[in-house]
């Protein structure tokens, strides 16, 4: 067990490309931290630098207070779980899990005991003598975890360990990874591009973009107080709706109508010296069918009317999609988010508003609907810098 500190850690490739720029992260002992971001954001590079599989070009990596930049992977006492699982195909499950212990010259009795113990935790007892090729995806994933936990390392590094599993299994494994980490209380750095995993697993989440740390915080904090447009768009599913708007005397004019800002929001924007042109963001779950909102709240909120484009009934809730005439342009961060979500390739998906409504809503496709939202929940962003003008950290 150990604390891991990244102090201005930088990765520069010989061709000058900078994969990670001055990354500062302090990971406490026993903490479960998630590195999340779209592909190419430097999260895997960062993990490989902690592992020692890639050299650090600048800055310092400290494990347990000791500089580890020059240490080889085997001297760092860190275990890693790979996306491909990287199980040794010529060894049985037992031998795979025993491999790190054998290399460490642990005596046979202890090896057996530890492997059995790990197999017990991961429910692999019946499979110990099988070869990886004969296991299912989920079993292989557990063997990979088993190989990591047998030697009680100082820390676990996990590089998208669940992305090769199908959706249902991924959900189950997510829970068991979380349980396992709590049970073992070992410092864990977990890389993923899946914001659901980031939200559900981590004590803290580090959002990365283009090699730069965007924001570090607890999942709830990132959700409620995103530091910028990128984090706001990346965290949360379905993602936050963004509309362009103009700010004048505490009144926001946008396709959502003319909205009077609440005092708190107004104060924050003024303190941030916000420009006239802003991007307003509001999450799908902060909308509601106006007929389902009680009188008192309806007064305090704002409403807009539009035709429901598509309605998805999920049983417990309904998603209503509205098209917007106005296009959002000029934000590099939004373009990147769209590219990451794949929506840049889908025609006509650029400017829709997604709302999550109660299942009792009478909304129907092709019909007009009046939708209510709470202006208190509005987040306003600077379109140029992407900065959250309503950030209240």
């Amino acid at each position: 067990m150990a604390e891991i500190v990244l102090d201005k850690v930088t990765k520069r490739y010989p061709d000058g490309a900078q994969a990670v720029s001055e990354m500062n992260i302090e990971i406490a002992d026993g903490e479960f931290i998630i590195l999340v971001g779209p592909s190419g954001c430097g999260k895997s590079t960062a993990l490989n630098m902690i592992a020692g599989l890639e050299d650090i070009s600048g800055g310092e990596l400290r494990i347990d207070g000791q500089r580890a930049n020059e240490k080889s992977p085997k001297d760092r006492d860190i275990a890693m779980v790979f996306q491909s699982y990287a199980l040794y195909p010529h060894m049985s499950v037992r031998e795979n899990m025993a491999f790190p212990l054998r290399l460490a010259k642990v005596d046979d009795a202890t090896v057996n005991e530890k492997v059995e113990e790990a197999a017990q935790i991961l429910d692999l007892n019946q499979h110990l003598d099988r070869r990886p090729a004969n296991l299912s995806g989920g079993q292989r994933q557990r063997v990979a975890m088993g190989r990591a936990i047998v030697r009680s390392p100082k820390a676990f590094l996990m590089d998208e360990p669940l992305s090769n599993l199908d959706a249902k299994l991924r959900g189950q494994m997510r829970t068991s990874v979380s349980k396992l980490q709590k049970q073992l209380a070992v410092t864990t750095v977990y890389v993923t591009h899946d914001q659901t995993e980031a939200m559900t697993l981590g004590d803290r989440v580090v959002v990365l973009r283009g090699g730069h740390v965007q924001q570090i915080g607890s999942p709830q904090f990132l959700y409620e107080q995103p530091a910028n447009l990128f984090v706001a768009g990346f965290i949360g599913s379905p993602s936050m709706n963004f509309v362009p708007g103009t700010l004048e005397d505490g009144v926001l004019k946008s396709v959502l109508g003319t909205t009077v800002l609440t005092d708190r929001v107004r104060r924050l924007v003024e303190a941030a010296g916000g420009p006239r042109e802003v991007i307003a963001g509001i999450r799908p779950e902060h909308f509601e069918d106006v007929s389902l909102v009680d009188e008192k709240h309806r007064e305090a909120g704002a409403t807009f009317r539009s035709t429901v484009d598509v309605l998805e009934s999920m049983g417990a809730e309904k998603y209503a999609y509205f098209s917007l005439d106005e296009q959002l342009t000029g934000s590099e961060e939004l373009a990147e988010l769209a590219a990451d979500a794949g929506s840049a390739d889908v025609p006509g998906s650029g400017s829709t508003i997604v709302t999550r409504l109660d299942a009792a809503s009478a909304a129907a496709e092709g019909r007009e609907l009046e939708v209510w939202f709470d202006p208190e929940r509005l987040q306003l962003f600077d379109p140029k810098s992407g900065k959250n003008l309503t950030f209240d950290g």
Binding site: A51, G52, L53, S72, P73, K74, I78, A79, M80, F82, Q83, S84, A86, Y88, P89, H90, F99, P100, L103, A104, R131, P132, A133, N134, R147, R151, L157
Partner: protein, 318 residues
Amino acid sequence: MSHAVTDAPDEGSAASQAKSKKAKLSEGKKAERRLGWLLCAPAAIVMLAVTGYPIVYSIWLSLQRYDLRFPGEQEFVGFDNYIAVLTNSYWWTAFGTTMLITVVTVAIEFVLGMALALVMHRTLVGRGLVRTVALIPYGIVTVAAAFSWYYAWTPETGYLANLLAEGGAPLTEYGPSLLIIALAEVWKTTPFMALLLMAGLALVPDDLMRAASMDGANAWQRFTKVMLPVMKPAILVAVLFRTLDAFRIFDNIFVLTGGSNDTSSVSMQTYNNLIKGLNLGIGSAMAVLIFLTVALIAFVFVKGFGTAAPGSDDGGKR
């Protein structure tokens, strides 16, 4: 609910459809199989004509007394030719020499080939150039290469012979001759080994090596405990091919020593009897014995070392 009710008859018809489909499928499968045979037939016939026929013909010849100098005395003698060959000390000397050359050269080629393959695999700059240069010896005709070695070791004029003590003539002594033959073999075929091993190296996933280093393996342990076992099928194929080739060594010995001083290989003995001596019976018996030995070696490799035959790799499970 209504869905379930209307679905029921559908399911029944689907089942019966599946049944009739099965019958149809077997019909189609038959046609497919016929087509498969037809498509294979030309190749199979050519294969039989160029390999099957000579094998059968030489087996038949090996059971005859058949000396072209006395063609009138041809008669069926059963296994007499084999008894003659197997009780002859010349054959066993040649067999021992061939085995020695095979084992020594293949072992050296494997070590050097592996090193070369690793270099070629890891080379980042000028990869193409490195590979081309490494393959040059393999591209030279064996006889031409053998002559260059021969002249190099010729006393007085050879640049390598001059390095030796005055009056040394290495190609006239048993030990030095074998060393030079082995050297020529190794020089010539290491690139081939390296090429096959490099293909095997490409099959070892990077993640596996990274996982091994995370598990605490140093470079040597990663090589011996992960890389070698994972590329075992490729290694076996490379070593098997080379062993079979080396066992049939002919041209290098033919040029370098001509088989003098007990350096002749089994292939040379066969050549001497069959072509020079015109004794088709004895020569064919030797050829069949070589064939059997080669088949035995292949069998031992595939069965004994527990590797799958090339192309039937089952992804590490057994």
